[in-house]
């Protein structure tokens, strides 16, 4: 087995993890206070977010500096690849819980409420047709159609995947301007997607009477698209950081895992959207 000469890089003691722990403790405590209307909760929560941002800046900054100073050999690179892959898998399982809830509601719980003794004795006249906000709320709403903004958003996100791959080819060919243009286009498409999503939410709340508390349809719609939107936001931030690193002259055709990790994440977000488009908006 041909090993590289450099030893596996083990970082020195670091102050950042404990900041991350304090941040999450503040975040959680603040959120608990805020949700239960205890004064000051919002500020504790914000302090937690600020600490988390400080920690992320410091930690990732250190990782980037270590990478730039050539401390990461081939074996470390492999570690990063494995870990990013399994991290994305864990994200897939997180979304799976919410997709599971959607399928359960559509295939099992709503039809059950509209059949047999449930319908005859408790929820008379409830048809159980999807989309449904349940037998009791019965507040008329308009479901989100698939072929307006959502279809456009599908196109936007798919194009962003293409521009990102184009940027990646630029990086591999050491064509820096193709890399920069591709990244900028990808970020712009991502931000456009997010803008459309915000517009769609406002439209849903104000004109369709479709809200988070619109029964199981509103719950699954907003939780699935909301968590997806959150991930697009995180992906866009990652892309922006990557662009900053490209402008600073980082990455070369051989050594650019930071770019690839971002790309993997962006494609994952893309695939989740396709699933969403089919089972939340379309069918």
């Amino acid at each position: 087995m041909a090993h590289t000469l450099d030893k596996y890089f083990v970082p020195e003691p670091s102050k950042y993890p404990i900041f991350g722990s304090i941040a999450l403790l503040l975040f959680a405590s603040g959120a608990v206070m805020w949700l239960n209307k205890i004064g000051g909760g919002r500020w504790v929560l914000l302090l937690g977010v600020a600490t988390l941002v400080y920690m992320l800046f410091g930690w990732f900054g250190q990782v980037i500096r270590e990478s730039q100073s050539g401390k990461y050999g081939k074996q470390v690179d492999r570690s990063f690849r494995w870990s990013m892959g399994w991290f994305i898998f864990s994200e897939v399982m997180f979304f799976a819980a919410f997709f599971g809830a959607l399928f359960y509601a559509r295939v099992l719980s709503v039809p059950w409420l509209a059949s047999g003794a449930n319908e005859a004795l408790i929820w008379q006249g409830f048809t159980g047709a999807w989309p449904s906000d349940g037998p009791y709320l019965a507040d008329p709403f308009t479901p989100m159609g698939a072929w307006g903004i959502p279809a456009l958003n599908t196109l936007i996100l798919l194009s962003s995947g293409a521009t990102l791959t184009w940027a990646h080819y630029g990086l591999l060919k050491d064509n820096r301007s193709q890399l920069k243009i591709g990244l900028v286009l990808t970020i712009l498409l991502g931000v456009t997607f997010l803008g459309f999503q915000i517009y769609e939410y406002v439209h849903a709340y104000q004109e369709l009477n479709l809200q988070l508390d619109t029964g199981i349809y509103g719950s699954t719609f907003f939780m699935l698209t909301g968590f997806h939107g959150l991930h697009v936001t995180i992906g866009a931030i990652m892309l922006t950081v990557t662009l900053g690193r490209v402008l600073a002259g980082h990455f070369n055709p051989e050594h650019h895992f930071g770019f690839e990790a971002t790309a993997w994440y962006w494609h994952f977000v893309d695939v989740v959207w396709l699933m969403l488009f089919v089972v939340v908006y379309w069918l």
Binding site: S21, L35, A97, D213
Partner: protein, 525 residues
């Protein structure tokens, strides 16, 4: 404390000292030690909760606690023991042992490793702290079933966030272990030559990555149902409380194996060492671990036989569950076959391992019994189930943890643990464990429900016995503190190969293991 070897790398300067050393450390041995101490503290805390429960149940009627508080006790006992004690203890073993066993210089992500540990104290603060907020801790049971969890007070929110934070910790820890095992093995250590503890943890880590996010999703839905008006678990809005149980147990059943597979790994090292024979059927042990893990994703609804399910579903989950007995049987058979005609000696680790096989197998058999849907419908939510899962979790996971601790303490401290005290610890635990939990089978079969602070007079005798056993078991664990402290401070010097029959890379480094080991990867043939 641990000395620094002369051949340390230049970028490994010793760093901060005192408390800051432990807060900032990136050393897998430091982090492993912190995990183990944290887990033991949580084990004692969860034990105090358990003993309060047993004290209340010593006699019929209400003596010590109010019913509401009793429910908080059972809930928090479960959460603290599962997420605070058993899981972190196994991660502590993984941190100490995996790099030593595969010849790696450290874990793959040493800094993230630190964060995985230091996320646990905040989670513990949220969990334990929830006892002191208005309304007290959550009393919805460790499973946090909706709609009960949707109706609880502030304590439920704290438990939800604690679960989120512990989930983040577990996922990072699991990714770290997967990458370490796949990418950091010494040259020549092929996967099928790898020590079984590493195999067990590799498979466990996959389970963690697959199911912890699902738990996060489940408790997030509870959170939004509580505060943001969603209807996931509300039939009026088209949701279903039973859906919570499906999502929860999709996490919950693999979670059961997350808590036992590393135990299987530890036992697979202790038995060959003290039988002085190689493990019987290494390959079948690996395949059995994998089979258990894969099957664990298709058995979750056996926790829900009484909550309403088509007969086809009951049959599927019943047979799938019984299938798990096959690979588990393979393992028990192989351990027994390893001992067959071995040159056996019974130092404390071996006592715990043999005790494990005996008592865990009883738990496995009762598991087979409750897997049968018609029987389960009789014993669902009775003390029979309590007896069953304590036989696999206490006599399974915990006994293996103690066995592993006695086995590797020489490597960690450089001293042999006190053999006499270790044996007393084992025999007291073994006897009192059975006094505490065996009568629960009878209680359950006779119909005593779990999570109830009061009971009918007919259950009084067995409950009194169980309480005596529980207090004996709890007090026996204090012996371990004495053993551990004595072992850290002194005692008979341990050689590199502390046990005569021990085999593996970790026994090639001195005892105690130097602060940095395997900076030059050893070659395995």
């Amino acid at each position: 404390m641990a000395a620094v070897t002369p051949d340390q790398l230049h970028d490994h300067h010793h760093g901060p000292t005192g408390l800051m050393r432990w807060i900032t450390t990136t050393n897998h041995k430091d982090i492993g030690t912190m995990y183990l101490i944290f887990a033991f503290v949580m084990f004692l805390s969860g034990g105090v909760l358990a003993l309060t429960i047993r004290a209340e149940l010593f006699q019929p009627g209400l003596q010590i606690v109010q019913p509401e508080f009793f429910n908080q006790l059972t809930t928090m006992h479960g959460l603290v023991m599962i997420f605070g004690a058993i899981m972190p203890a196994f991660v502590g073993f993984a941190n100490w042992q995996i790099p030593l066993m595969i010849g790696a210089s450290d874990m793959a992500f040493a800094r993230m490793n630190n964060w995985s540990f230091w996320l646990l104290p905040p989670a513990a603060i949220l969990l334990i702290g929830s006892f002191f907020v208005p309304g007290g801790a959550t009393a919805a049971g460790w499973t946090m079933y909706a709609p009960l969890s949707v109706q609880m007070g502030i304590g439920q929110d704290m438990a939800i966030f604690a679960v989120h934070i512990m989930g983040v910790s577990s996922i990072m820890g699991a990714i770290n272990i997967v990458v370490t095992v796949l990418n950091m093995r010494a040259p020549g250590m092929k996967l099928m030559k790898m020590p079984l503890f590493c195999w067990a943890w590799l498979i466990t880590a996959y389970l963690l990555i697959a199911v912890m996010p699902v738990l996060a999703g489940a408790v997030t839905m509870v959170l939004t149902d509580r505060h943001f008006g969603t209807s996931f678990f509300n039939a009026a809005g088209g949701g279903d409380p039973v859906m919570y149980q499906h999502i929860f147990w999709f996490f919950g059943h693999p979670e059961v194996y997350i808590m036992i597979l590393p135990a299987f790994g530890i036992i697979s090292h202790i038995i060959p060492t003290f039988a002085r024979k190689p493990l019987f059927g290494y390959a079948s042990m690996v395949y059995a671990l994998a089979a258990i893990a894969i099957l664990s994703f298709s058995v979750w609804a056996h926790h829900m036989f009484t909550t309403g399910m088509p007969a086809v579903g009951q049959l599927f989950f019943m047979y799938a569950t019984m299938l798990i007995a096959v690979p588990t049987g393979v393992k028990v058979f192989n351990w027994t076959a390893t001992m067959w005609r071995g040159s056996m000696s019974f130092e404390p680790p071996m006592l715990w391992a043999v005790g494990f096989i005996l008592v865990f197998t009883i738990g496995g058999f009762t598991g087979l019994i409750v897997a049968v849907a018609p029987i389960d419908i009789q014993v669902q939510d009775t003390y029979y189930v309590v007896a069953h899962f304590h036989y696999v979790l206490v006599a399974g996971s915990l006994f293996a943890l103690f066995g592993g601790a006695y086995y590797w303490l020489p490597k960690w401290t450089g001293h042999m643990p006190d053999e006499r005290l270790g044996k007393i610890h084992f025999w007291c635990s073994m006897v009192f464990f059975n006094i505490a939990f065996f009568p629960m089978h009878f209680l359950g079969l006779a119909g005593m429900p779990r999570r109830i602070p009061d009971y009918a007079l007919q259950f009084a005798d067995f409950n009194m016995l169980a309480t005596i056993g529980a207090f004996g078991f709890g007090l026996s664990q204090l012996i371990f503190i004495v053993v551990a402290v004595k072992c850290v401070r002194g005692g008979a010097k341990a050689s590199a190969r502390a046990w005569e029959g021990a085999d593996g890379l970790e026994w090639t480094v001195p005892s105690p293991a130097p602060y940095h080991t395997f900076e030059e990867a050893p070659v395995v043939r």
